[in-house]
């Protein structure tokens, strides 16, 4: 972070003449280790350092991004930003006087109990080899792998109004995959933290059960080969937190993004079935549906002090008792729309500008256990671990598939079913919610590949959620 401070001080000392500027410096390091079928894959080290200069001049705003952080390099980026600010002043869809200004001074450093460096490379590879051995149960396992990914992001945002926000996020992401095959039937299972990302250090490895989870992952992949196909009919559905993450992400998070509602994303990620007049009155789901924007959950992927515009992060209800309250929109989108919002203007890296993104979008817990949710089902299916996702450009008609399904009959879990999927319409689906697990069932998870924006950006998004139960959902299995 010291290096970033020095660069920022040099820039501020010779800042371009304008009404407002921001400099966002991002220093990122990464490492990826993997062992596949007992063979160590080439390890990969990554280092990235760059800056985005954003300038407001009159009614225009523009940006310039560069990996040349010399005074001349930053000056060139500022010149490019100035040029685009002039074009924006002439042809912009909004007046840059609306552009958010920040004087916030804040620091954030994510939780790390066991730093990445405290374990040697040979020990990490040994751990992955042991996981590999545990995955290779028999000849039906035709491919298997274990991995450890490390990423640390240091970001410094300084502004001409005196804003100074230093944030450090650290992620250690372990995972397992097993592929089983007989004839023309292939099944995959993931585990060991593959869909359970959080901030943190090496403590995430044991918390996610990298080694302990391997036999289950392989056994379930094999068992799915001979399981019957998921039935095709309408029945009750219980989703584990591993699948709830995706359900919340696609059919609540994305539809509430204010830039979609404002039309910015219509050419790529899409629009939303949610319209401005719905906020405050629209029944999004049953009374059990309570959804928050919550950057305060320790270790959740996007917990932090502020967004990339410099707006301080704070917890907000998006949906309360089933009623839609607030969209996901940063200060600029709030100003353009006249709606309230959240601190969620985020960029994926130094070379992309902030746009409205999910951060941590959480389903608040209800009451009871997973067993209690299952006990309330006469005929249904439990589904776990997302494997397929598709939803329309208004975020309404969805179809999701899972790696594993399990029949529920008379309140009890029965046998496995393979290729389970379900489909529905967001605007109706959440009204079928009639059971949400209690605090003890809530899991802090997220996704690492949320894509959106033009130019394209892929970011981490946190989702904490319990399991949940839905009534009368269309389910189906595999086959042509």
């Amino acid at each position: 972070m010291d290096r970033l401070h020095q660069i920022a001080e040099r820039f501020a000392a010779a800042a371009p003449a304008c009404d407002y500027w921001t400099l966002r410096l991002v220093d990122e390091e990464s490492e990826h280790l993997a062992v596949r079928q007992g063979v160590v894959e080439p390890s990969a080290l990554g280092a990235s350092l760059g800056a985005m200069v954003t300038l407001v001049v009159g009614s225009g705003v523009g940006y310039g991004a560069t990996s040349d952080l010399s005074p001349a390099g930053l000056r060139a980026a500022a010149d490019q930003a100035l040029g685009w600010a002039a074009r924006h002043a002439w042809l912009g869809v909004f007046d840059a006087a609306q552009y958010p200004r920040s004087a916030l001074r804040a620091d954030y450093r994510g939780p790390v109990a066991e730093p990445w460096e405290t374990m040697s490379l040979p020990d990490k590879l040994l751990l992955l080899q042991e996981a590999n051995q545990a995955l290779a149960l028999d000849d039906r396992i035709v491919d298997w792998s274990a991995w450890l990914a490390y990423r640390r992001v240091q970001q410094l945002l300084v502004t001409s109004d005196g804003g100074h926000i230093a944030q450090v996020w650290t992620y250690v992401s372990p995972g397992l995959a097993a592929v089983a095959n007989v004839g023309s039937q292939t099944q995959r299972r993931h585990g060991g933290g593959a869909d359970w990302s959080q901030q943190g250090g090496l403590e995430r490895v044991s918390a996610a059960g990298l080694l302990a989870d391997a036999p289950r992952v392989a056994e379930e992949a094999i068992a799915l080969l001979t399981a019957p196909e998921c039935p095709r009919d309408t029945r009750d559905l219980v989703l584990t937190p591993g699948q709830m993450v995706l359900q919340i992400h696609e059919s609540i998070g994305h539809p509430l993004e204010l830039d979609r509602i404002l039309g910015d994303e219509r050419n790529y990620a899409g629009t939303s079935f949610v319209t401005p007049e719905m906020f405050g009155t629209y029944r999004y789901g049953s009374d059990l549906l309570n959804v928050t924007f919550d950057p305060t959950v320790p270790g959740e992927l996007v917990s932090g002090a502020a967004d990339d515009d410099g707006t301080p992060s704070r917890r907000e209800y998006l949906i309360r008792d089933g009623i839609l309250e607030r969209p996901l929109g940063g200060v600029l989108s709030q100003s353009r729309s006249g709606l309230p919002g959240t601190a969620n203007a985020r960029a994926c890296a130094w070379d992309r500008p902030p746009i409205d993104r999910m951060a941590n979008i959480n389903l608040e817990p209800g009451e009871g256990t997973l067993d209690a949710l299952i006990a309330g089902v006469e005929l249904g299916i439990l589904m776990d671990t997302n494997r397929s996702w598709s939803i329309d450009d208004s975020r309404n008609k969805f179809q999701f598939g899972c790696e594993l399904g399990r029949l529920i009959v008379d309140g009890e879990l029965k046998g496995l079913v393979r290729n389970p999927g379900y489909r529905g319409i967001s605007a109706e689906f959440w009204r079928r919610l009639d059971g949400v697990g209690g605090p003890a069932t809530c899991e802090v998870r997220g996704v690492q590949n949320c894509g959106k924006g033009e130019p394209n950006q892929s970011v981490y998004v946190g989702h904490a959620t319990p399991p949940a139960r839905f009534r009368s959902v269309a389910v189906f299995g595999g086959g042509e």
Binding site: V39, V40, P42, S43, A44, L45, G46, A47, M52, G62, Y63, G64, A65, T66, S67, D68, L69, G73, A77, Q80, A81, G83, W84, R87, H88, W90, L91, V93, L121, L125, V142, V179, N181, G183, S184, T186, R188, G263, D264, R266, N267, G270, D351, I355, S388, W389, S390, D392, D393, K397, Q399, N419, R423, G451, E454, P455, N456, Q457, G478, E480
Partner: protein, 439 residues
């Protein structure tokens, strides 16, 4: 960063190698302007200058990789690269021999440049907003130079640079009633844009008709090339990758096993000789001009990168497992005859958000999007509300395929996740006897 600067940097890094070491240096650089548009006005505009250096250090049978951003200032970049090299060298002391290490041991050279001077992005956007006056236009302008380089201590020297623009946009009537277009190339011609906007205005006039709501079921359909591209993208997801075949994960497993076939008129190729992507791989191999992936309905050849080639004893023919320049052979249906042959059914302009519904049976789900019309007795009658399809490629490209068009569209990939893409697809439209709509 230009070619000379990259080669110079690489040579100075390689000068520090030990006798038993080899080093492959790669460069991915771009100098791009990006302009987001909404309501036919600028939403967000700026410029990105980036250069990423990749290093792959090899000693005996061991290898380790690293990457870093370059500043463009030689001494500073050299210091950074040498630091990374030292870390890689230390790392090689802790990793085992890699049985699948595979790199070209013969020096080779190539130099390919596509396009010259990029259009002035500011002027082009101003042209666009004037020409599109009255339209609710939303999309992205991207332009500038993209460079890929490779240099090795063995003597490889390869360079591929393209200077181009890619305008990808749609025009909305209301809600989700919209039509989509793209214009990409090397030389900006306002007249081409004006023609495309005129066609969009015609499409929007039809879009103004009340939308037809159809129920789930099977419908005759014509898939325009942009919609076919989404199906090709699904096939690119494990369909042709050698490793996915050998580990039986490919969604084409039943095709490979001879249990299913595509229609004999379906031939799919990787056409590297289109020249839009680098011909070299990061390991110094040269790709063949063409690889036949699907040959008259039956599986042809896999795409084989260097690592998979070593593991499975095959020859390298690709930089990765997904096509970058896919081509589907044309058929015999004239564009002018499409509506008549379709007779009654769906004219699908674009598909969206596809995913495997059941990969064991090559079953894909996704949505219709943008210009999708209901056609009755050969006439476009009305736009159609977005619908979800869920169907097997063994049907859409197999027993329900009726015709492929003679004309093909060259579609440049507008994606920019890892920098501006140079991928492309050359595709005809496809007439099918039925597509299953599920929701």
């Amino acid at each position: 960063m230009n070619q000379d600067a990259f080669y110079s940097l690489s040579e100075q890094i390689c000068a520090g190698l030990r006798a038993d070491e080899h080093l492959f240096c790669s460069l991915d650089a771009e100098s791009s302007d990006f302009v987001r548009l909404n309501h036919n006005r600028i939403r967000q505009a700026g410029a990105v200058r980036s250069a990423v250096l990749g290093l792959n250090l090899i000693s005996g049978a061991r290898q380790a990789e690293a990457s870093c951003d370059l500043s463009g200032e030689l001494e500073q970049d050299l210091t950074l690269a040498r630091g990374l090299l030292a870390r890689l060298r230390e790392r090689l002391g802790h990793v085992p021999d890699d049985p699948y290490l595979n790199y070209s041991t013969e020096p080779s050279f190539s130099d390919c440049r596509v396009g010259e001077t990029p259009p002035d992005a500011g002027a082009a956007v101003a042209d666009l907003t004037m020409a599109a006056a009255g339209l609710d236009l939303v999309g992205i302008w991207a332009s500038g130079e993209i460079s890929t380089g490779l240099a090795s201590s063995i003597g490889h020297r390869h360079w591929h640079a393209s200077t181009s623009f890619n305008l990808d946009w749609s025009a909305y009537l209301e809600s989700d009633k919209a039509v989509k277009a793209s214009y990409s190339g090397l030389t900006w011609e306002l007249g081409v844009l004006v023609d495309k906007l005129a066609a969009m205005r015609q499409g929007l006039a039809v879009m103004a008709h009340p939308a037809r709501v159809i129920t789930p079921g099977r419908y005759r359909a014509y898939l325009a090339p942009a919609a076919v591209a989404e199906l090709m993208n699904m096939l690119a997801w494990g369909g042709f990758d050698l490793k996915s075949h050998r580990t039986r994960q490919t969604p084409l497993l039943k095709l490979v096993r001879g249990e299913r076939t595509f229609d004999p008129r379906v031939t799919i190729r990787e056409e590297q000789d289109r020249g839009l992507t680098p011909a070299f791989t990061g390991d110094g191999f040269i790709q063949p001009g063409q690889v036949t992936l699907i040959d008259q309905g039956r599986f042809g050849h896999c795409l084989v990168d260097a690592r998979d080639a070593k593991e499975y004893g095959e020859r390298v023919n690709a930089a990765g497992g997904s096509p970058a320049s896919v081509g589907l052979d044309p058929g015999e249906l004239a564009s002018a005859d499409v509506l008549a042959r379709l007779d009654t059914g769906l004219w699908i302009g674009n598909l969206w958000y596809c995913n495997w519904s059941d990969p064991n049976d090559a079953r894909v789900t996704g949505m219709t999007r943008f210009g999708t019309w209901w056609v009755e007795h050969g006439r476009i009658e009305a736009p159609v509300k977005v619908m979800r399809f869920d169907d097997s490629l063994y049907h859409l490209l197999g027993d329900r395929l009726e015709a492929l068009t003679t004309a093909r569209d060259l579609l440049m990939d507008p994606q920019t996740y890892e920098g501006r893409s140079t991928d492309s697809a050359l595709l005809p439209g496809v007439l099918v006897g039925g597509i299953e709509l599920a929701l």
